[in-house]
């Protein structure tokens, strides 16, 4: 790692874990914790969507996997008495397993076809949650207990959330840690051989197969990792809101995940994080506009698209290219 990159990462971590809480204490805007926690978790889901873009597939189905992950965690905690911390990886893995079963047939589809199927998938997830007995239909699952204590060999790693004086801060820190880990994994994938193979897939699937890449396997793998992130994000959301309904993640959420990636820029690992921050935080700030909130928000989005059709981070490129 070059010193400048190390410095950048250090500054980023300092900002997320020290400056943000400090600013919130100073300004007294405690509500920002909830917003920023959401940003962190949504950007975890968006990271997954971005990875599917990286293999050349437009994924508008992340909401489905977030819903699956959320329900897995909720059901295990309320009905099987699991600790939330144990259900978190299980939610991710279950979502990944589901995505493998679904991905095997549908990943053969390309372009708009794949996009449409994934969009439909979100509706499927919602309707399944409505129909199954274990998910409790439209009433959903409510009063889910807060995450308990996590200890290793008697040593408390994470204290019981119910005993904390400031669970908002705790949730924020937890979400931020998850986000940092997710992007670490994503960055590592993209900058390892795995990422090069994904790029080869994005650019030319046939050629990729002729140089010996098992394209079908790689596609499913990328999609499974993507859905793992989706499941994690979903489970965390459920822990925070302490409830889940079939409508907790709907088509609009899936579309939003995709928008975060687009807006940040598809060519940049940290694009989805920036896109999520801009769109979600922007949306939140716009709540002062009341009934004009959606109008201003979508108007700004359209305007941004007209000015920067290749994402916000493409600004960097122009500077570098000197054109």
């Amino acid at each position: 790692m070059t010193p400048s990159r190390l410095l950048g990462v250090g500054a980023f971590l300092l900002g997320v874990f020290v400056l943000v809480p400090l600013l919130i204490v100073l300004t007294g805007r405690w509500d920002f914790y909830y917003t920023l926690t959401s940003v962190a978790l949504l950007s975890v889901g968006a990271a997954g969507v971005w990875l599917t873009f990286y293999i050349g597939r437009i994924n508008i189905g992340q909401g489905a996997y977030a819903l699956v992950g959320g329900y897995v965690s909720a059901i295990l905690v309320t009905q099987a008495g699991f600790s939330f911390w144990a259900t978190l990886p299980m939610a991710g893995l279950f979502s990944a397993a589901v995505s493998v079963a679904i991905g095997l047939p549908i990943l053969r589809l390309r372009g708009v076809y794949f996009a449409m199927v994934t969009l439909v998938l979100t509706e499927v997830a919602r309707l399944t949650a409505l129909a199954l007995p274990v998910t409790n239909g439209a009433k959903g699952i409510t009063s889910i207990p807060l995450p308990g204590e996590l200890s290793i060999f008697g040593l408390t790693v994470i204290p019981d959330f119910a005993s904390l004086g400031n669970p908002k801060l705790a949730f924020y820190l937890m979400a931020a840690v998850l986000m940092v880990l997710t992007y670490l994994v994503l960055w590592r994938i993209v900058n390892s051989r795995l990422g090069h193979l994904c790029r080869s897939l994005q650019q030319n699937e046939e050629l990729s197969a002729s140089i010996g890449v098992n394209t079908a396997m790689l596609r499913v793998l990328a999609y499974a990792i993507s859905s793992f992130f989706g499941g994690l994000a979903g489970a965390m959301f459920v822990a925070i809101s302490q409830s889940i309904y079939p409508s907790s993640f709907v088509v609009t959420d899936s579309v939003n995940f995709m928008l975060y990636c687009f807006l940040g820029g598809l060519g940049y690992v940290f694009g989805p994080m920036l896109g999520t921050l801009l769109l979600y935080f922007g949306w939140d700030l716009l709540s002062v506009a009341r009934e004009y909130q959606l109008l201003i928000y979508s108007g700004a989005m359209i305007a941004l698209m007209l000015v920067l059709p290749n994402g916000v981070l493409s600004l960097l490129e122009k500077k570098g290219g000197g054109k």
Partner: protein, 289 residues
């Protein structure tokens, strides 16, 4: 049985009209119009405003819906899609734009018409009853009939008019059409306007029966996507087939599966997945590669 078929036919005609507009836009510009459902809702509200609030005849409302949406479609193509398509590096950028427009239209609808469910009074009263085997209100029959005539009109237009032929050439091969002297910009705009107009017309037709509300946009888009997936994206015959198939499945499902609760759409979705795994290009679509 007759009842199920009649309901399916009636639903299918509405659906096919929506799918036609979506597939037209897709085939001409390779744009997946996320805002299609919102355009449908907008069309419904225009008719509602003119008929229920201003007391004008239904046909005036319907024509107004068509005109308003056609103008809206033309403007959206000219000032939004055209510049973005020209400058973006990837086709997918238009999806962000389309989704942005969908949100924007939702916002406009909310401000102009509010979030309440709206409807207009029945345009014709009475119920057609054939020996209790087939029961259908006359207004549904009328609307179904209007929808089918519009579909026929659209096919004739695409087949025989100069504009229709130019658009078909454009859909088949953009570059070749350009070489043949087809004004691509102009026909893209006309195509988008026409697609939006169809969505608006269905909105105007259905407001008389099911009413209209703000939340209907998204689900309508999802249904329209399903129809063109069934039939094959960008193919006119596919859109019509997809519309009628979905209408029929919904009608059959609602009757047969009612005992198991609200699972019709779940079953439809699941069968669609299986179908696409076997035939990814849809019924009438061209296979790739």
């Amino acid at each position: 049985m007759e009842q199920i078929l009649a309901n399916g036919l009636y639903l299918g005609a509405q659906y096919a009209l929506i799918a036609l507009g979506l597939t037209l836009i897709f085939s001409l510009m390779n744009v997946l119009n996320f805002a299609h459902g919102q355009m449908y809702v907008f069309g419904g509200f225009v008719t509602y405003t003119l008929v229920a609030q201003l007391g004008l005849p239904f046909i005036v409302g319907l024509i107004a819906s068509a005109v308003v949406l056609a103008v809206m479609g033309a403007l959206i193509e000219k000032f939004l899609f055209r510049p973005v398509i020209r400058r973006s590096k990837r086709d997918e950028s238009t999806m962000l734009l389309a989704a942005g427009i969908a949100f924007f239209l939702d916002a406009v609808i909310l401000l102009l018409f509010g979030e309440k469910q709206r409807g207009v009074p029945k345009i014709v009263g009475g119920v057609f009853n054939w020996d209790m085997r087939l029961i259908m209100p006359y207004d549904r029959i009328l609307i179904g009939f209007l929808a089918i005539s519009l579909i026929v009109g659209f096919i004739l237009f695409m087949q025989y008019s100069r504009t229709g032929r130019a658009m078909r050439a454009l859909a088949q091969d953009r570059v070749a059409a350009q070489l043949m002297g087809v004004d691509v910009d102009r026909y893209s705009m006309i195509g988008f306007a026409l697609g939006a107009m169809l969505a608006g017309l269905v909105g105007g037709l259905l407001v008389t029966i099911t009413g209209i509300n703000l939340g209907m946009g998204g689900p309508t888009s999802v249904k329209a996507f399903m129809m063109i997936m069934i039939g094959g994206a960008g193919v006119i015959s596919g859109a019509i087939a997809g519309g009628f198939i979905l209408g029929m499945m919904e009608s059959i499902g609602l009757t047969l599966l009612a005992a198991y609760g609200d699972v019709t759409y779940l079953v439809i979705f699941a069968s669609l997945m299986v179908f696409l795994a076997i035939r990814p290009q849809g019924l009438m679509g061209k296979p790739w590669g």
